[in-house]
């Protein structure tokens, strides 16, 4: 069952007359750039989930918020669907265009509007890159904490829309924990402020609701982020284990010792070898699993915690524990992890990155389940894991040029996500549902819960013009998906089919 928009199961879309719409845009927004030819539209046919493409009807590239406001009013009036897009780095197809809609590209809003070191906040336009914020406030020894691995390229508007994470979430939180305020435009083109410059605002917490809402409730036009003082020091320990179970238990032991590391990452043998081969980080290639544990803060505390964590790791059965000797080695240790995806990419023509979360105690069982599924489907899976917060990124290796392999990889991926749900986890920790996991939403939520989600959507966008088809599946789609499940009941692990 394809994940591309299918009106039979995803609901009918309005019929949009392209020449008339183009003419209206040119007349009402003469100074806004509009792309409409096939060759101009092509580069926008997908986001970071490049296996799925749809050529948008039109692409608009506004440079002033007033243009966005007017555009939304025009689209509302003419009943035109609008898909918003930032830098297009999203991994779940949240910005996958619609053939019958406008792709609204917010990437040109690149201005940092205000940096306030006393108030520890920065006010920025939505197209500002995540890393650019930390760079701009570095002179004040401040930074913006959430650091998704795409932080060089991804934009803050997209981060808010997806509630982006990163490797430091356990201690510093997700995007939602690091925002003060967003300015939005409603589907009708009305301006609204959610949150405030204070720590809270009157009424319902719509800032929390909009964070991670995947462009379904409004268009983000400005973001005020919280800034934190840079930690004085950061140190990294690298621990090797001869089994993933031991590594998994060690994570629980560190937390039981009352320590919350700045980052706590796990990699399995296939990921270790791939990263070592690519980056030469100095990883132990014989280890079944490694843990990278970063401790940051005030120097005296960090030193103290390094000693404690080393003792815990040794006690937990680590075969070796290494403290990065200097900053260069610390960066090298991280480089291996941060480049794990491209490193794994070198092992195989294609790879498919999953994003499930699980309660940490379930890790050994889930890894075993993944390994069994990997064997069953005949596709290798490398595991990198934000171990501190239970967020797994299994990477499924496949070759799209081999007939049927992409479909097999997708089915395997779906099975892994369903396994995560089964043990009390979630189908997505930080990449979002988008289009990619639209079917798996039917596993995580029942029809009443999905109905409530649709009710929330209806409160903000009753006509369903904003990013149609993303995030929340229709009950019709779930029914179709459910019947397919039964149909393919021959697949292994029948116990996974019970929802």
């Amino acid at each position: 069952m394809s994940i591309l928009y299918d009106e039979r199961v995803d609901g009918p879309l309005p019929n949009v007359d392209k020449p008339a719409l183009l003419a209206a845009l040119r007349e009402q927004l003469p100074d806004m750039e509009v792309l409409h030819t096939v060759e101009d539209l092509k580069p926008y046919e997908c986001d970071g989930l490049s296996a799925y493409t749809t050529t948008p009807m039109l692409v608009v590239l506004p440079e002033r918020i007033e243009q966005v406001e007017q555009l939304l009013k025009l689209c509302y009036q003419r009943n035109v669907p609008v898909v918003a897009r930032g830098a297009g780095t999203g991994l779940s197809g949240g910005a996958l265009p619609l053939a019958q809609g406008i792709l609204l590209v917010m990437a040109r809003f690149k201005h940092i509007l205000e940096v306030n070191p006393e108030g520890r906040f920065a006010r920025v336009q939505p197209g500002v890159r995540n890393l650019a914020i930390s760079q701009a406030v570095a002179p004040y020894d401040l930074y913006y904490a959430p650091d998704p691995s795409s932080q060089i390229a991804c934009s803050i508007g997209g981060n808010v829309a997806e509630n982006a994470g990163g490797v430091h979430c356990l201690k510093y939180g997700l995007t939602v924990h690091n925002l003060l305020k967003v300015e939005i435009l409603t589907v009708e083109g009305e301006r609204m402020t959610l949150g405030s410059d204070a720590l809270d605002s009157p009424g319902f917490d719509l800032l929390a609701l909009f964070t991670g809402s995947e462009g379904m409730l409004g268009i983000i036009t400005e973001v005020t982020v919280k800034l934190l003082p840079k930690p004085q020091v950061a140190k990294v320990l690298l621990a090797s284990f001869d089994s993933v179970e031991k590594a998994g238990r060690a994570v629980g032991e560190i937390i039981a010792a009352g320590i919350i590391p700045g980052g706590l990452e796990m990699m399995d043998n296939l990921a270790i070898r791939a990263a070592e081969d690519f980056i030469h980080a100095g990883y132990p290639v014989e280890a079944e699993a490694i843990l990278l544990c970063e401790l940051d803060g005030v120097e005296a505390d960090v030193h103290d915690e390094c000693v404690r964590v080393e003792a815990v790791l040794t006690q937990a059965g680590a075969t070796e524990v290494r403290l990065a000797r200097d900053e260069a080695e610390r960066i090298r240790f991280w480089a291996g992890r941060k480049n794990a995806f491209p490193a794994v990419g070198r092992l195989s023509p294609d790879y498919y990155c999953m994003d499930g979360t699980i309660p940490r105690r379930e890790l050994p069982g889930v890894l075993k389940g993944i390994s069994d599924l990997s064997e069953e489907f005949g596709l290798r899976v490398a595991n990198v894991f934000h171990a501190g917060d239970g967020n797994m990124h299994p990477l499924i290796l496949f070759d799209a040029n081999q007939p049927g392999e992409l479909e097999r990889a997708e089915t395997l991926g779906g099975k892994i996500l369903e396994l995560c749900v089964k043990v009390g986890g979630s189908i997505t920790g930080e990449h979002g549902v988008g289009r990619e996991k639209i079917n798996q939403m039917c596993s995580q939520f029942n029809s009443d819960e999905l109905t409530l989600f649709h009710a929330v959507k209806a409160a903000f966008d009753p006509r369903g013009l904003l990013n149609p088809g993303k995030n929340i599946p229709t009950l019709h789609r779930c029914a179709e998906f459910g019947s397919m499940h039964v149909h393919h009941g021959k697949l292994p692990f029948p116990e996974l089919e019970r929802f």
Binding site: D200, D205, L206, Q232, G258, H386, S426, F445, I472
Partner: protein
């Protein structure tokens, strides 16, 4: 830890909601009723969550606790304390009556809030009885979860207007190894200036309040960082009971008979000139005001600096929460209509129209 009174009263709660839906009876949701002073008066049949209580699951190494809404905070925090952990939002227990459900519904956070997050920041998941009479689950027991809209965080601070919260999963954290409080004699203006300066530095602050006479600080962290900050900041040692007094509104400041207002302002706001007495909390971001001044004057003054004011004295003001801008109010009503179509959950508790 299973307590004597633990009980799952889901069936009874659902029954009462469905009866309310069938007979169009408004429900006044309450736990310990310890925050009855907050918000507008609700006419309706009381729906008491206290029979639905007990910790459902708690695994300290997962840093997550799940409990039923009627669980007294005292009981919840005792279980955490036993495992060396805590609710970092430091909620008020208001004489021991406050429940978990009430904490989430009111969304009131204690002195640690600017450094460790608000109630909503700890919410990982919730179960809710909806305006369609269904008992549903949103979010979960994992740290990261972006599947669907974030309804569980939306419930924090919604004062029961969107449904009956029956169960909540919260992120918890280990208690700091070291904790120490200081008192520094200085006026409010200097205190605010110092706090803005220290805020940009990695000092292990976890509470900062000025009571009109002196700046009170709490340091939390490892032995080394706390000792170093203590040396650097000077001042005299303070009894940490100050923070419980502040959190529970038991300091002598709160005994003043004039109406109590909570002013939420950007933390770097200077001294606010308003009639009455003020106490600074949250490192400057929360100001408590005892004043007879007009609501309009207070709100104007606070709005001018980008903040908002809430009246904490029952019955003093018809709109205890700062009125919303027109489009925002419209979307509040639309959300309320979608989630509670019959308008039976705490109607009017936050705003007359919601």
């Amino acid at each position: 830890m299973v307590m004597r009174h633990d009980a799952d009263a889901t069936t009874a709660l659902l029954e009462q909601v469905n009866h309310g839906l069938n007979s169009s009876t408004a429900l006044r949701i309450q736990g310990g009723n310890s925050k009855a002073f907050l918000g507008r008066k609700v006419d309706g049949e009381v729906l008491d969550t206290r029979a639905h209580r007990g910790i459902v699951s708690y695994d300290p190494t997962e840093l997550v606790i799940t409990a039923r809404a009627g669980t007294p905070l005292v009981e919840l925090e005792a279980a955490l304390d036993e495992a060396g952990q805590m609710l970092t939002c430091e909620p008020a227990q208001f004489g021991g009556a406050a429940t978990l459900g009430g904490m989430v519904a009111a969304g009131l956070s204690g002195p640690r809030r600017p450094w460790s997050g608000a109630v909503r920041d700890l919410v990982l998941g919730a179960r809710l009885i909806t305006g369609m009479g269904k008992h549903l689950r949103f979010g979960g027991e994992v740290m990261k979860n972006v599947a669907g809209y974030d309804l569980s965080r939306l419930l924090a601070g919604s004062f029961g207007c969107l449904g009956v919260i029956t169960e909540v999963s919260l992120k918890v954290l280990p208690k700091p190894r070291q904790c120490l409080s200081l008192r520094l004699e200085m006026d409010a203006a200097l205190a605010l200036q110092k706090l803005a300066e220290w805020g940009q530095q990695p000092i292990p602050l976890s509470a900062a309040s000025h009571d009109g006479r002196a700046l009170h600080l709490r340091l939390e962290g490892g032995e080394g960082s706390v000792a170093a900050a203590r040396e650097r900041l000077g001042g005299e040692l303070l009894d940490s009971a100050y923070w419980a007094g502040l959190r529970e509104q038991r300091l002598s400041f709160f005994a003043d008979p004039r109406p109590l207002w909570r002013l939420s302002v950007p933390s770097s706001t200077g001294v606010l000139t308003l009639p009455g007495e003020q106490l600074i909390d949250w490192g400057g971001a929360q100001r408590w005001l005892k004043s007879d001044a007009d609501a309009a004057l207070i709100r104007q003054t606070v709005a001018a600096v980008g903040g908002h004011a809430t009246c904490f004295t029952a019955g003093h003001c018809d709109s205890p929460f700062q009125p919303l801008a027109a489009p925002l109010l419209r979307y509040h009503r639309q959300l309320k209509t979608q989630l509670d179509p019959q308008g039976i959950f705490n109607p009017g508790r936050m705003y007359a129209e919601v």
